[in-house]
Amino acid sequence: MFKNVYNWIDERLDVTPIWRDVADHEVPEHVNPAHHFSAFVYCFGGLTFFITVIQILSGMFLTMYYVPDIINAYASVEYLQTKVAFGQIVRGMHHWGASLVIVMMFLHTMRVFFTGSYKAPREMNWVVGMLIFFIMLGLGLTGYLLPWDNKAYFATKVTLEIANSVPWLGPIIKEFLQGGTIVGAETLTRFFALHVFFLPAVLLILLVGHFIMIRRQGISGPL
């Protein structure tokens, strides 16, 4: 059945070369855990991406219930967490996945560092990877405020004070992120916008760059 549908489309649009180009590529022996088990360290990048996909999916579903508003935010989170079927699971995925992304990304960075994979000709991909790292931290930071509980509120106060300590620009950055002079209604909507629109958009663009470069340049050679 699937095959017939696929063939029907393929006859007309010739889609096979497109996905072949994406999916069909050699996995060198030194990165294949079936050959050397220690090669599992090469999986962390893929795992980071996998969890990122889960984050995007679960985040999309969470916005079906969440409202970025200081009066209703906490109540809506509490509602989806305690009253909606599988709410605990879906929010749990997003909550724990957020930490796991950072862990996996850190391990991936360590692997790249200790195998020297950042060296020429892959310096640009290292830089893009670093940008992804900071975007991920930004996503973690902005997402942390959204439940609008005490922990979120004070964590954000602290981070904004840290932003404030940037030489010269600090107060401007702080007020921009805060959307005013206090952590309040405008901070929450701002963080929400950054968390679900701006940062993910930048993240996806960077990820595409990251992947195109790794396909162009191939995985770095064995140690």
Partner: protein, 180 residues
């Protein structure tokens, strides 16, 4: 991964039995495992998303509206407050009903929601059609009993009604069964 496997394939297969090729087996296994894992991640989210349709609808409780003695032959508008819980948001909605008693003294309450496209009808509010319910949006008209005369495809809905200790209580809205 599958490239090396082709070396191990026997050069000629024994005749008769149709065997699944190793490639096919691996495709099914990997596809099945992938589908299982994807379902594990996606199904909770789908259940999460469809939760509102699967919620038990609250049986409309009866609300005390007006003393029975105040009901006349002429329809009168009464409003009453319905406490509603909308997700995390609790509010009171003000509903209205047109209540009258018919010639046999039977009391009934009509919902003012027009059955055409949901605007709110009023009693006797159009000079050219006296003693009718009239909807200002598209000119739908109904009789005293709520029977649709023009525009609207169905008669006005009625409220579930009960009378206790001389008070009229209204419940949920249901389709009008009194008029055709």
């Amino acid at each position: 991964m599958s490239n090396q496997n082709e070396h191990h394939e026997p050069s000629h297969k024994p005749p008769g039995r149709k065997e699944m090729s190793r490639r096919q087996f691996l495709t099914y296994t990997l596809g099945g495992a992938t589908a299982y894992m994807a379902a594990g991640a996606v199904l909770p989210m789908v259940r999460f998303a469809v939760d509102p349709i699967l919620h038990k609808k609250g049986e409309g409780e009866f609300i005390k509206v007006v003393e029975e003695s105040k009901i006349t032959d002429e329809p009168q508008e009464f409003s009453f407050e319905l406490k509603q819980q909308d997700g995390w948001y609790a509010s009171t909605a003000t509903l209205t009903a047109w209540i009258r008693k018919d010639e046999q003294g039977k009391i009934y309450a009509l919902s003012p929601i027009c059955k055409h496209l949901g605007c709110t009808v009023g009693w006797n509010n159009d000079k050219s059609f006296p003693d009718e319910y009239h909807c200002p949006c598209h000119g739908a008209r109904y009789t005293k009993e709520g029977k649709n005369l023009a525009v609207a495809p169905k008669p006005l809905d009625t409220y579930k009604l009960k009378i206790e200790n001389g008070w009229v209580y209204l419940g949920g809205v249901e389709p009008n069964t009194e008029v055709k």
